[in-house]
């Protein structure tokens, strides 16, 4: 076997090793890479920034711990921004294993601003079958969630006074890693027409630019880069900005592998041709 053929059939574990090494480097030596903000992220920031104290909005924490890395910085920044502006937040969870994590994050941020459940925010908890839950929340929160996560009837919560369904809040920001985003667009905005913005993982973001253009969503926070932008805009920083150096190095390695792979492919083919 020639060198090129060997390269073509490179054991995948060498690739794994290279990725591992470049991800460990920034954990040891820290350095910074510049980030610029984009309009689709800015629109989400402005939506919350322009609300008045006492205004309600719905925040969907619809991801589970597996997507924590990309999406938690968004949740953190948005919750901080909302509580610092004294906005009322209704939080729901359509991801089965996100509910515990969402509760931890929420109570942590609420404690910073001395916000109380039932007065400043309402945590609805989790229900399965997201499409159906969104549809019923468009009619009445109380059908799907007669009680909040802590077992308190929604009717007795101050924050839910006069808030019957999703049409009664200023809008919905949904942060998700799955096709729940499609359901918010299809069944939420599609059936009820409330303003909707979404925060999604990098993998999903390509699919949602079309909804931005068609007006079905008004803003989009795409992946960790979007989260880093939101951190710059809002000033509430967790791990979004920090993780950009990992990205740069890892992307460089993958690009390098693609180049090597193609050089090898053409070299091996030329050898064979001769």
């Amino acid at each position: 076997m020639t060198f090129w053929e060997k390269l073509m059939n490179l054991d995948r574990r060498w690739i794994y090793l290279c990725i591992f090494i470049v991800v460990i480097i920034p954990a040891i030596i820290s350095f910074k890479v510049p980030v610029s903000t984009t309009p689709e992220v800015k629109k989400v920031f402005n939506f919350i920034d322009e609300m008045q104290p006492g205004d309600h909005f719905y925040l969907g924490i619809d991801y589970d711990p597996s997507a924590l890395a990309e999406l938690d910085p968004m949740t953190y920044a948005i919750l901080n921004q909302a509580f610092s502006k004294d906005l009322k937040v209704i939080i729901g969870c359509l991801s089965q294993f996100g509910v515990g994590m969402a509760e931890l994050r929420l109570s942590e941020v609420a404690a910073i601003y001395g916000k109380e459940s039932g007065i400043d925010y309402c945590f609805l908890g989790y229900r399965p079958y997201p499409a159906i839950v969104i549809l019923t929340m468009g009619v009445d929160f109380r059908v799907t969630f007669p009680l909040d996560y802590y077992g308190v009837p929604l009717d007795s919560l101050e924050v839910m006074n006069g808030i019957r369904n999703l049409m009664d809040v200023k809008g919905v920001v949904d942060i998700t890693a799955g096709n729940v985003a499609d359901m918010w667009i299809t069944y939420g905005n599609g059936r009820f027409g409330f303003p909707l913005a979404i925060g999604v993982t990098g993998v999903m973001s390509a699919d949602y630019y079309q909804y931005l253009q068609s007006g079905q969503i008004f803003g989009l926070i795409p992946g960790i880069k979007g989260a880093a932008e939101y951190e710059i805009l809002s000033g509430f920083e967790t791990t979004g900005l920090q993780s950009i150096p990992y990205q740069t190095l890892a992307h460089a390695v993958i690009l390098l592998f693609i180049i090597i792979s193609n050089v090898g492919y053409f070299a091996a083919r030329r050898k064979k041709g001769r």
Partner: protein, 205 residues
């Protein structure tokens, strides 16, 4: 009759839900909300089916010396979560139930998911070779998109422009066409199911 009645069930419930969409009255809203809720309740009742099957299969494995250890691990994990989670208080962060959740479930889940970083690199290495025109297009587009995270000085601006164009023109056209195709496929499949032409999922004796 046993074979026919379920098909009528599908027909009637399907048609009723289609008609419901066009009727805004209160009765119709009630029907919509409850029909959806009923589906959830059926799902709740189906869960014991799955759990029974899982636990039964693992108990069976306990008798096989080669598999007994791993079956024991699974059953241990299952029952410890059930017993620690029996009370309402178990929903709070400090309970053993949630501590187990945070220190077993979260790290393993997140780590399995993070394997994707390695897989995406090896998939790129194997699949992104300019063998055919289609593969070349796939490879070049991915390359242009990925390189946006590398600071290239003035070239970065050109790249950002190109990335935006790719995302808003061919990418959007592709997604629209796929969405419309999927839409027609979904509706045609639904019609076939409602009319009882496609009924393989329903089974018979």
């Amino acid at each position: 009759m046993r074979k026919q009645i379920p098909i009528y069930f599908v027909l009637v419930s399907g048609i009723v839900m289609i008609i419901q969409y066009f009727v805004p009255s209160e009765e119709s809203e009630w029907l919509f909300t409850y029909a959806n809720d009923w589906v959830i309740v059926i799902g709740i009742y189906a869960l014991p089916l799955g759990i029974y099957s899982l636990v039964k299969a693992e108990f069976k494995k306990l008798k096989n010396p080669g598999e007994a250890f791993y079956a024991g691990v699974l059953l241990f994990g299952y029952f410890i979560m059930v017993f620690t989670g029996l009370t309402r208080a178990s929903r709070e962060a400090a309970s053993l139930h949630m501590v187990l959740f945070n220190n077993i479930l979260i790290p393993i889940q997140a780590t399995i998911f993070s394997l994707l970083a390695f897989y995406i690199a090896s998939a790129a290495y194997r699949a992104f070779r300019a063998r055919t025109i289609l593969a070349t297009i796939l490879l070049l587009t991915a390359f242009i998109i990925m390189i946006r995270l590398i600071p290239l000085g003035p070239l970065s601006e050109l790249n950002q422009w190109l990335v935006t164009k790719i995302l808003t023109i061919p990418n959007m056209a592709a997604k629209r066409a796929i969405t419309m195709g999927v839409g027609l496929g979904v509706i045609a499949t639904c019609i076939k199911i409602i009319l009882g032409i496609e009924r393989t999922y329903l089974g018979h004796d």
